[in-house]
Symmetry: C2
Subunit: 140 residues, 2 copies
Amino acid sequence: MPPALVWKAWTTPDLLKEWFAPKPFETPHCEIDLRPGGIFRTVMRSPDGNEFDGAGCYLEVIPNERLVWTSALAPGYRPQAGEMPFTAVIELQPTGSGGTRYRAVAMHRTPEDNKQHADMGFVEGWGAALDQLVALVKTL
Amino acid sequence: MPPALVWKAWTTPDLLKEWFAPKPFETPHCEIDLRPGGIFRTVMRSPDGNEFDGAGCYLEVIPNERLVWTSALAPGYRPQAGEMPFTAVIELQPTGSGGTRYRAVAMHRTPEDNKQHADMGFVEGWGAALDQLVALVKTL
């Protein structure tokens, strides 16, 4: 799976909705304005129907290579309140065999925030979502 | 004064130190890595010797046109704690007469943060610093 397809799954709302939330969570809504300062909004829904609506903004957009977004800033870069804000850096590199070397880093404000997020299942959640991303990309 | 000189005063540490803090405050130290994610650090010193050391990061760098930086993110885009984080957008446009139309916007998290910062003299401080910037640029 080449970087271009992984990029597409990360930046196309109708595709992202298919994989972004680790099941049985769902992503009923996604809004993307793919430019620095542009909105990255997802609504996640838990099995019992609670919705988590968050809008951050993109910081760097280098197609098929590097995507950076943060929940610490609202669209247009305005700082926003919120618990455990983090910045995500997604890096894609082509491998010699036509695949993608995938690297995702989440940077938190403090080690305490990082631990709290991890204790909530953040790491496993991203891992499960990545499995879903891979399964989706295989169908593209 | 053309935009290029105003840009220079905003992005050259030794120049910025001359004007950035409204007198009698001073800016004994400034560190600039002029690229998205790069450090923008200033140390301000009050007349009674207290120092205020803050490092944010740049978000957009369009030479002579647009500079965006935030105190909500540390260098490398990591979210950071801090009271009243804000994002600053500096826009420069050439006027027909060889001058610069200067626009500076500070965006806070909430109206309450905005008011609290204003009550501390933020608006007057930026105004006084701008006067110092203009005086400095005239000497370049």
